[in-house]
Symmetry: C2
Subunit: 514 residues, 2 copies
Amino acid sequence: MYHYGVGKTATSVDLALHPPPDGAVLFRWLYHEIRSAILEGRLRRGARLPATRELAKRYRISRGTVISTFDQLQAEGYLEARVGAGTRVNTHLPEDLLPAKSGVSAAGARKSPRPKLSKYGLRLTPAPDVRVPPPRPFRLLTPAFDAFPLSLWSQIASRRLRGVTRQLLADENPRGYRPLREAVSAYLGSARGVRCTWDQVIILAGIQQALDLTARIVLDPGDEVWLEDPCAFLVADMFRAMGARVVPVPVDDQGLNVAEGRRRSRRAKLAYVTPAHQFPLGVSMSASRRLALLDWARQSGALIFEDDYDSEYRYAGRPLPSLQGIDTTGSVILAGSFSKVLFPSLRLGYLVASGELVEKFAAGRMLMDRHSSLIDQAILCDFITAGHFGSHIRRMRELYAGRLAVLCDAVRRKLRGALEIGETQAGMHTVGWLAVGLDAGAVAKAAMERNVEAIPLRRFCLKARHPEGLLLGFASVDDNELRRGVDRLAAALEDCSRRSSNEPGASLRGSRSG
Amino acid sequence: MYHYGVGKTATSVDLALHPPPDGAVLFRWLYHEIRSAILEGRLRRGARLPATRELAKRYRISRGTVISTFDQLQAEGYLEARVGAGTRVNTHLPEDLLPAKSGVSAAGARKSPRPKLSKYGLRLTPAPDVRVPPPRPFRLLTPAFDAFPLSLWSQIASRRLRGVTRQLLADENPRGYRPLREAVSAYLGSARGVRCTWDQVIILAGIQQALDLTARIVLDPGDEVWLEDPCAFLVADMFRAMGARVVPVPVDDQGLNVAEGRRRSRRAKLAYVTPAHQFPLGVSMSASRRLALLDWARQSGALIFEDDYDSEYRYAGRPLPSLQGIDTTGSVILAGSFSKVLFPSLRLGYLVASGELVEKFAAGRMLMDRHSSLIDQAILCDFITAGHFGSHIRRMRELYAGRLAVLCDAVRRKLRGALEIGETQAGMHTVGWLAVGLDAGAVAKAAMERNVEAIPLRRFCLKARHPEGLLLGFASVDDNELRRGVDRLAAALEDCSRRSSNEPGASLRGSRSG
């Protein structure tokens, strides 16, 4: 087998130079090429250049020319040579020789292109390039990292990598790794009441991809889609970017109001719903609404996208099987994610569909990005079939029930009269309803100043009006952090009332009444 | 910390039952629910049911009812109870009770939906659900699995998993993991002559995703795109599925014929090219054609998609820097893949863009599938920054040069007069030109019967006419397998000539002349 270097020092960089123009003096050409590679930052400080012999051979020039060039560049301070370490770009190159550090990006510094974009391209709204900070109270849609059995996962991953087969490295099936599809189908059958065989399961990068793929396969620009109102940002953004006509359908304590949906749009081809635990309101869709929604789909020939995002967590009452499980006409596309149960950066999820849709999804996936990493799929499959996934969900269900209780208790004790949490039976977040007169935007801002995330409910509303509320995730941090979070939220609420009494003109109550 | 079960036997399944109708007899309801879950295959043989106490609590029924139901189902042979192992679905359930095995899928058996699809959805052509067999001669676009340092990769992966930070688990940036973007930018700068800063690099699932994203951001249905002719299947399929007007532009020994492209379409908004090593013909785009292509893009405001898919491998002559490196107007989007250098199931690649395009790509990625697995990105980053990636490429360059020589030698000795390989200086495949009179389709079919992959060149042609040729990948299998592959190809060629002389009507030469 091959010997691999043990560190940066062991290997020289590959070096691709633009060819010398006809009749060029080779010394001058080589000098210029290497020098500009250094000045433009393509050759980094400390980077080791190929051996003179190798360069000479590759570019069919004499070794003497290469040596003279290196000597010259060394004399000028661009390169340095150390015995046994070859020739490198000078690690102490003066700052002023080097290009502006990115941040002021070369992308901006170069003559900026004004490419002609598509309608989709023009509709995309760039988001700032920021790192997501580590979990803090009350992050949404984020599991408990501290409780994820990383070393167990790592063991399973290592075992799988050591025993990896050529088949596993070579296969590429846009439907996913068959044993994982079988495991997912078995899990969904028992835990979510989903009626499907393994070949109806497609492994994807997550719910967002399932939704994007569904939208592309079902909707043309101008087609109507029902969205729950309120609704997750990325869902509404995605449909709008692709040119679909978003029809907001209000949500009440029984879930999506199907009758209102019918009034607002009879021609919708797709409905997006979160029946298990509405995002963001947290209600579960009632049995009669489920039947009404299926009725509508059957009559109108529309499809239903069931986003089953945190259905694993139900703390009271009986488990609620999926909408898909009571559908008899193949109108429901169900999608779920492993990233929200295990860890977000995993990027594995699934969808379940019927009939010809399965093959359309597979064909679309192939053209979009082919398939998900097979090794990641195999590791996850091992984790599930060994029983760890089931155990993990049960542990997390207990853990999150405890965290929810801690949150409710702390809110009752510290925020009485200012913020109230309704009965919460499921999921990884709840809504904190603010007392009349408090402005969720102002509270959220003050909370963020204290390193607490509490997103105003109204930011998720398309047209709907709701009392002022804050979304509070309770899964991602432990009991103590949750309690500290509530303390800091209480302080933020005080900041707000202080500000609004001190500067009535600029206050947020003021900003509404004029 | 939590204790996790050690195997399948340790945990019971989660069980979601459809709620009892009002006034239902609870025993009958529970009996029916569990029995149909078993009969429909949602509860598998051997699956362990939740404890009676837990079920009773969850569904708010008496434990006595649960016990009677279990007893009844056990008496009928659906369940079995073992001391200390709880109640399970009978592992010896008679075959005839169980649902038809998939294959005849329930997807088909259920009332098949006829959903209204979008134009994109209608254009998608389903592909058969087959496993890709392990590498065999002369598989295309597939690296040498046998030479990939799996144990080193596995060590690096384990180290990264053991030391994983909450930041790494939590972050989600559609642009990718910053240290990996820096490493890619450094690598591309030196090895490919790419001029970019790290913030112009976006990590994606691969070249196919880069292309799909580019197409969505740049093209509306009906817009024209230049494709090299011949061209990879998935590229043409992708553009057609999204409704773009594909303009085939012929390729000669200098690469894409820019003048011919201008004649065929002046309004194209995008050109797709493989300048380093044209797929599938294998030619490198000449310097004058590169300049002509950039000129066209500048004048017409079009963008160029540079697919740099196997540019790492150049066996003779000087390295060819990327087209992106000589572009001064930001017209080139460069994309590359790690899957073709390391292993196909990895699903990591990159694109490099300029100006506002970078942010458009990031915004589009977020809506498509958010981002790539951060842990996978971090492992790859460790592999690169420790120097292993550079070493691996150099090893593979030597290895593939050797395999190419073995292939050429064997073809010269065994296939003289029937198949000829031109001068090959780069990449992971070459074209074998067939002697006049031989039909590539017939030879490919006969080769496949002997477990040898040799795809006819004409299958990649959009409109172009070329002499009959077969594509021969030489990277994925070792010298001995390559030699055996040539032997089997020789036998296949004999099969063909025997068939064509025996059955002139059905022969492939016959099928042309009538």
